[in-house]
Symmetry: C2
Subunit: 235 residues, 2 copies
Amino acid sequence: MSGLSVVLVSPRNPLNIGAAARAMSNFGFSDLRVVNPYDVAFREAVSAVGADAVMQAARVYPTVPEAIADCSLVVGTTGGDHRDPEQPLRRLEYGARMIQGHPSVALLFGSEKYGLSNDDISHCHWLMQIPARSEHRSMNLGQAVAVCLYELIRDETMASAPAHPKRSAASSQTELLRERLAEVLLISGYYDHTAVEGAERRLRALVKRMNLSQQDTVVWLGIFRQILWKLKGTA
Amino acid sequence: MSGLSVVLVSPRNPLNIGAAARAMSNFGFSDLRVVNPYDVAFREAVSAVGADAVMQAARVYPTVPEAIADCSLVVGTTGGDHRDPEQPLRRLEYGARMIQGHPSVALLFGSEKYGLSNDDISHCHWLMQIPARSEHRSMNLGQAVAVCLYELIRDETMASAPAHPKRSAASSQTELLRERLAEVLLISGYYDHTAVEGAERRLRALVKRMNLSQQDTVVWLGIFRQILWKLKGTA
């Protein structure tokens, strides 16, 4: 997404400017533009301990039209409550699909207190809404930037990825574990010798349900070997 | 997602505690638990201007096991660089699907500086990783909470929602607009009377590409009516 510029319009809090830059760095975006910031706030954000390359390279513009002059798609973010009903409003999940792959997009975020003004919004092709609760739509600026950028880089194919990369134990290993466990149970007197029917099957299912990795199976085999050694020694 | 508890382990910055609570309120979560917070930070966060109901209702616990005692699924969040390779690590997109619908989940976030300790992690069933750049994995605490909760509430069906709810103009309206535009062009001398072949078709396509709403079509019809009136008056 090298074609995306994050545009903060009239931000007032240096922590929020820095947080926006940090989220950009986390998610792989680099072009930060700041319109008419409170001057002290901007200088504080740039000089803050831990300010990263994104923050250092941020550019300041006096007005929105100047900040977005080279962008061919301009998208505003909004709480979505007070707006022109004619302006298309798209939920983040859908809007992100329309932004992805576009060569030069400006994504606008309004000030902490007032959001984007009607004048700012008139420069936008459409508006994008983060699906927050209608009772509490107003998001923290840094968090709103993070959530929008995350939606842009998230990978839907990962949503159905395999459970996890651990190497599961082979059946021969779990069967060995079942045998050793059976020996422990027998020697320790767990069975009363009247109800052993189906015991092997039940033990096998019990071990399977542990869903062990190769490595943990080795650990369990060692545990039961030690228990057996102790049981036999005291018998 | 009333069954989800956000657990902040040893947070140090009151702004981050407050930001986590705000994101929870934005996305409809209410159970915030704070383990061993820096005491001053916690009191500041609760008493901060704008602290919401989630923050007011937050509970403090001395240790992780006490905070998660009633939860049957415990998921840790991590930058994912220094961890036990045996602990399953799932990307956020996938992990969220496993959390959704679970009746009692604890989602753990570590301290700003160190993340979750190995001891904290040993209480987790598995770990969840936000897909940040490997060069800059470490996220701001409040932003990490916001992004994880967003993934839990986002609606994939919305990603393919219809473009936007505006009511598009009917073809009869756009055709009327094309006719009026043609009249304006003719009277204003836009055509040189040698190249009119295909002009009607090209104008129709031009108007279609405006992709107008009903309301904007009425506006444009009025504009051209006024231009025509002026053109005819000065002719």
